[in-house]
């Protein structure tokens, strides 16, 4: 299957490791992965700010760049949800583009649910010694029904214990531009989340969306917590040797070895 990887802007900019983990998982499952060069962002910041005028050309760019792939996969429920649920809505007054948006939507998937629901992946080859907890990011959970799929694959990771997060379905407070428009509220919501994360006793926090992870990891680090945070794809791909989100990168020449 020829898959177009929608990297997402946050993974592209902040954490390419997640993109490579996604490529590995897809290739291991037998897909041919391509990364269209003309992708930047899904347009969500404009769309959710009420700026449809700027969201549309960005969406058209995505629709055109990803024409022809058997499937379009994003390591994010939020960006996949934008394409799958919101593009058709965005073009509701432009029939031709709405048709193209719906066609793309029908081929677009969030990474982990694509592996499990479409490719029928039952297990991954990774191993991880320790306990992890998993946060269900809102868009993936409620727009795309991503809930059982990551748990199914995590259960196949050798040595891993999943400690369920109380309130796993409660928002972490990220909310895209919300986190900078209403930082005090956002931080308070994040603090409730980190309290729950700490209560699990897990050493590693996983989630399927980098935005939420940057928020939760940032809050954990500010609180001095030793709990690490990673995108679930990194662990499933067995790529946990890179420093976790917000951790010091030991390769720094002037840093301690």
């Amino acid at each position: 299957m020829r898959v177009g990887l929608f990297v997402t802007c946050l993974v592209d900019l902040f954490r390419p490791s997640v993109g490579f983990a996604a490529v590995k998982l897809l290739e291991d499952a037998g897909c041919t992965v391509e990364v269209p060069r003309a992708q930047t962002c899904c347009g969500q910041p404009a769309y959710n700010s009420g700026d449809r005028k700027d969201a549309k050309p960005i969406a058209r760019q995505v629709i055109e760049s990803f024409a022809g792939y058997d499937a379009v996969v994003a390591p994010s429920g939020s960006c996949a949800g934008m394409i799958k649920i919101h593009y058709p809505e965005l073009f509701r007054d432009e029939p031709e583009w709405e048709r193209r948006a719906r066609e793309l939507a029908s081929r677009t998937h969030e990474l982990v649910s694509f592996l499990v629901d479409v490719l029928g992946v039952e297990r991954v080859a990774a191993s991880y010694r320790g306990s992890v907890t998993y946060h269900d990011s809102c868009s993936g959970l409620r727009e795309l029904g991503v809930k059982a799929q990551p748990r199914k694959l995590l259960a196949s990771v050798e040595g891993l214990t999943l400690k369920e997060l109380p309130g796993a379905e409660v928002c972490c407070g990220f909310g895209g531009t919300f986190c900078i428009k209403y930082p005090e509220i956002s931080t308070r919501i994040a603090a409730e989340k980190t309290k729950d994360i700490a209560a699990t006793g897990a050493a590693l926090l996983l989630a399927g969306d980098l935005g939420c992870l940057l928020n939760m990891a940032g809050k954990l680090k500010r609180e001095g917590s030793r709990i690490e945070a990673r995108h679930v794809a990194e662990l499933l791909a067995g790529m946990t040797e890179t420093p976790a989100i917000g951790e010091r990168r030991s390769a720094a020449p002037e840093g301690p070895r």
């Binding site: 700010s49 809102c138 919501i189 940032g218």
Partner: protein, 472 residues
């Protein structure tokens, strides 16, 4: 009620710093109860679909059902007062009270009553309104607005309530400061009993108006609504047009999802149907039955992208499940209706210029929509308000231009790749040592309360191009 929604940001900041409020908000325990109630009823999801469809049908044929409702109501001896706005509604209520020479008016819980500020108006005209719902009674003593649509005093701790009773009940000879919730309730009941008997007019809200019978329906857990409407000479129902349902059957469908969504009860303790005044052979009931039907901006929403908000049956599930509401409580929203439903309704009813913050102060996490008994797409409606605001240039120019600049760049992939490659290389090098930033220029909103994880350095696009042997 005077809106303070324009001050949302400072309202929210005060709420976050208010230790008593933060302690009180931990009591909000409806979520687990709702989930359990929904799980116990196999047809719950189907009932939600039916509830949505009933409401959509009524909204599509509102004129028809309003006429039918009026005809049935009048046939049974009731009177209807059509009011376009809050002022007309207040005048209609006052006229009834004046004619009956009312001195004391008891009140069941009514959000429309809050909306039209009926208590303040009656007081200014020499009539004493007495709230009889325990939560409403408490906040009336404290001169506060409700902070939740079904649990109006949820923002208070027991100690605060105890203080208020101690201060206010001495004039009834109650001089002991009470500690137990059951004692507080008993004392309120005793004080209120005398008010019920003294009252000349009783005002309630309505959860539903039924077109085929001309009835109004209220649900309560304390029975205060029944005493309010039965022990007085006149029962005034404050209601809005979107409360209409076609039939009794439809009302029962909605009742089955209302309490379950609100408190997790299968039914409220009391569900009261009122159809006209007391008839000759009735044992009790009011001599007069009035419905003050106030629009106050609602029908303006028909035919707009906001029409679906009129399906709301006021259960409060959206706010119970809202992370923002749970963090700041209801008062920060600055008007009658807090939480996600308030963030959609308030701009519609008091204006988007006043309430422009509310639709933005949401993470769009979608939990509200996932629990709404009539499936109102609240995140979509919040986004529609953001669109209206953007068109009207309400967001600050700086934010709008930043967005425009980013969008301009995002439409130029080659330039975007270059710009982000340079920026991330810089930030990556800067953050390499600690892996995160404790503060960042232009991002203090983020870094005041959290660290900002540093980017890894190279962009994915650059690394991918290198892996493919191409140019980055």
């Amino acid at each position: 009620m005077e809106a303070t929604s324009h001050a949302f940001k400072s309202n929210a900041r005060h709420a976050l710093e208010d230790a008593q409020l933060q302690r009180a908000m931990t009591k909000l325990g409806f979520r687990e109860a709702r989930a359990a109630a929904a799980a116990r009823l196999p047809e719950f999801e189907e009932l939600r679909d039916q509830g949505r469809d009933i409401k959509n049908h009524v909204l599509a044929h509102l004129d028809l059902y309003l006429e039918r409702y009026e005809a049935e109501l009048v046939k049974r001896g009731g009177q209807i007062h059509w009011c376009a706005d809050a002022e007309e509604a207040r005048r209609a209520v006052l006229a009834i009270c004046r004619r009956l020479k009312a001195k004391t008016v008891t009140k069941g819980k009514s959000m429309v009553g809050e909306e039209i500020a009926i208590n303040e108006f009656l007081e200014a005209n020499g009539i004493a309104p007495v709230e009889t719902d325990l939560g409403e009674y408490i906040i009336q003593l404290r001169h506060e607005p409700p902070s939740h649509i079904i649990a109006p005093a949820i923002h208070l701790t027991k100690d605060q309530i105890s203080d208020s009773f101690f201060e206010n009940h001495q004039r009834y000879g109650k001089s002991r400061r009470l500690e137990e919730a059951s004692e507080l309730m008993a004392e309120a009941r005793e004080v209120l009993r005398a008010k019920f008997i003294a009252a000349d007019v009783g005002i309630t809200g309505a959860n539903f108006l039924i077109a085929e019978t001309g009835s109004s329906v209220i649900v309560t857990n304390e029975g205060n609504g029944d005493l309010t409407q039965n022990l007085t000479r006149a029962h005034i129902v404050l209601a809005t047009p979107e409360k209409l349902v076609p039939t009794l059957e439809d009302a029962t469908t909605l009742l089955r999802i209302l309490a379950r969504s609100a408190t997790g009860q299968e039914f409220s303790v009391y569900t009261t149907f009122s159809t006209g005044p007391r008839r000759a052979d009735d044992l009790d009931g009011p001599e007069e039955y009035h419905v003050v039907l106030v629009d106050n901006g609602r029908t303006r929403l028909l035919g707009t992208e906001f029409q679906e908000v009129l399906r709301c049956i006021r259960c409060g599930a959206c706010m119970n499940h809202c992370p923002v509401y749970n963090a700041i409580g209801g008062h920060a929203y600055g008007w009658v209706y807090p939480g996600p439903i308030g963030a959609v309704l308030t701009p519609a009813l008091v204006g988007v210029a006043e309430a422009h913050d509310l639709p933005n102060a949401s993470t769009l996490c979608g939990r509200c929509e996932s629990v709404c008994p009539v499936r109102i797409p609240l995140p979509k409606l919040l986004r529609h308000w953001r669109e209206r605001e953007f068109e009207a240039k309400i967001p600050p120019a700086r934010a709008r231009w930043a967005l425009k600049l980013w969008a301009w760049l995002a439409r130029r992939p080659a330039l975007y790749r270059l710009a982000t490659r340079v920026a991330m290389a810089f930030l990556g090098a800067l953050g390499r040592r600690n892996g995160r930033f404790r503060s960042l220029p232009l991002a203090h909103g983020w870094t005041d309360g959290r660290d900002m994880p540093a980017p890894e350095g190279p962009t994915f696009q650059a690394l991918w191009a290198a892996r493919r042997g191409g140019k980055p």
